[in-house]
């Protein structure tokens, strides 16, 4: 556990960049949206932007980067794969917990200031279905985990099996998803699927299902890294 903590600290030695990228990009996205909607005036009475997604995308890329760049470095310094994985998880989950808290806070401020005086929804969740405050917080946090663990898993496939592994994975995903889509169309299941999604609560879509997907991804990543070479 000690060594896992060391790995987490290792990834923070250049912390201004670790924190700077996600928040810098989110801030610039926010300011641009603010400027645009302030200048176009009443064209859209209650604008909602997708700008919040930027921080999630940056964190996904950061997780890919942890495997591609930090893994060979930490292994070179003599870390075990287990410590590296636990430490990276710790490092990332720690960030997700704090970042989700800040985002939640900003969404509260947004509501209190009447959408920054513009009725703008930037930090507020698109699904207003989540009313419970704990669930609202989790709705910010859990998608970080899903994307982050997805980033770890994909990058680890590349690290362990190289470009052939990536191509196999893409082919499998393409055939799998395409096949399911074909089957759904053939059997006329689309309305049923649409109905299923519509029946899900916001909490299930933003918290429950992502958490259920994130856990097996984390487990699979651990199995892959056990035999990965830097």
């Amino acid at each position: 556990m000690n060594r896992a903590l060391t790995v987490a600290r290792l990834q923070f030695v250049a912390w201004p960049l670790v924190v700077g990228w996600p928040w810098g990009i989110l801030a610039s996205s926010f300011l641009i949206n603010l400027a645009i909607f302030a200048s176009i005036g009443d064209a859209d009475p209650e604008p909602t932007t997708g700008g919040l997604a930027s921080i999630y995308i940056v964190m996904f890329i950061a997780c890919v980067n942890v495997i591609i760049q930090e893994f060979p470095f930490a292994m070179g310094l003599g870390m075990s794969r287990r410590s590296f994985y636990l430490g990276s998880l710790l490092h990332f989950v720690g960030q997700a917990i704090v970042y989700a808290g800040v985002l939640h806070l900003l969404s509260v401020v947004e509501k209190a200031t009447g959408g920054w005086g513009l009725d703008l929804t930037f930090f507020g969740l698109p699904f207003l279905l989540v009313e419970n405050p704990v669930l609202r917080y989790l709705a910010f946090a859990i998608p970080f985990l899903l994307l982050g663990f997805l980033g770890f898993a994909i990058a680890l496939v590349f690290k362990r099996w190289g470009i052939n592994g990536m191509l196999t994975l893409s082919t499998a995903a393409f055939v799998g998803i395409g096949g399911l889509a074909a089957l759904t169309t053939w059997r006329g299941w689309w309305p049923a699927i649409g109905g299923w999604f519509a029946d899900q609560s916001g909490g299930a879509l933003l918290v429950g299902w992502p958490a259920l997907l994130a856990l097996p991804l984390a487990a699979v990543s651990y199995l892959i890294i056990r035999r990965a070479t830097p």
Partner: protein, 306 residues
Amino acid sequence: MSPVVTVTDLTKRYGGVTALDGVSFSLAENRIYGLLGRNGAGKTTLMQILTAQNFATSGDVAVFGQHPYENERVLSRISFIKESQTYPSALRVHHVLRAASLVHPCWDEELAQQLVDDFRLPPRRNVRKLSRGMLSSLGIIVGLASRAPLTFFDEPYLGLDAVARQIFYDRLLADYTEHPRTIVLSTHLIDEVSDLIEHVLLIDRGRLLLDVEAEALRGQVLTVAGPVAAVDEFTRTGAELHRVLLGGAARATVRGDFGPTDHDRARALGLTLEASSLQDTVVRLTTATNGAAPATVGATSKEAVR
């Protein structure tokens, strides 16, 4: 005293390529080993397996008595500096040193700072903007300042100028004298390190050709020159590794268990005789026809030649 490293019948195959072929040896505590061999001989693979960065196909390794794979107790006592080490692109030189200090329990910050000055490394420069030589010196600083009980240097000098290499050798020897530890130095610049190395491990095509004390090896390989008949007479007592003919004269490299009587005999035959340098020895052994190594070997050496 139990050995620091024990390797038993280690084999590593990559697809159809055999990188290591039944290698066995052990490393004693507090010595400097020279791991020598040509490009692609299997040196890096061997060190990667010893540090659990790669996996053996068959055979056993024990480091500090245990298998290194996922073994914190073992891994925290190893420092492995390799030429191909990459660094996260966000890091500056001082970040890398900070990271290494977090990882290595015996880290000496004062030594690290002094080496940064010695090698004239700009501490605030991004690692991606370092020249090849500067990158090498960064690795060397990490390797020396980590003071790990088992330290591997895998061709650490790439792009380093002669002055910087000399600083490395001097610092290595000085720090080793003060803080003895087991050091494995893999290098191509054999003549430069021949005074440093206490024990020679020579690998060729994945096989261990030599596992011998440097001192013992020095007397074992001789170069004799003189009339062909006299050279023929002398080389009968050893195994001839190499010969150059120049008219009626010959110059031959011979390996055998030579003593003072052999030196007298050479003089009596009218031959000039000199001990081969370590580099010559390595070159002759790895290029000797069909790898046929001599049968006569000293009591201190072991052979793994088939």
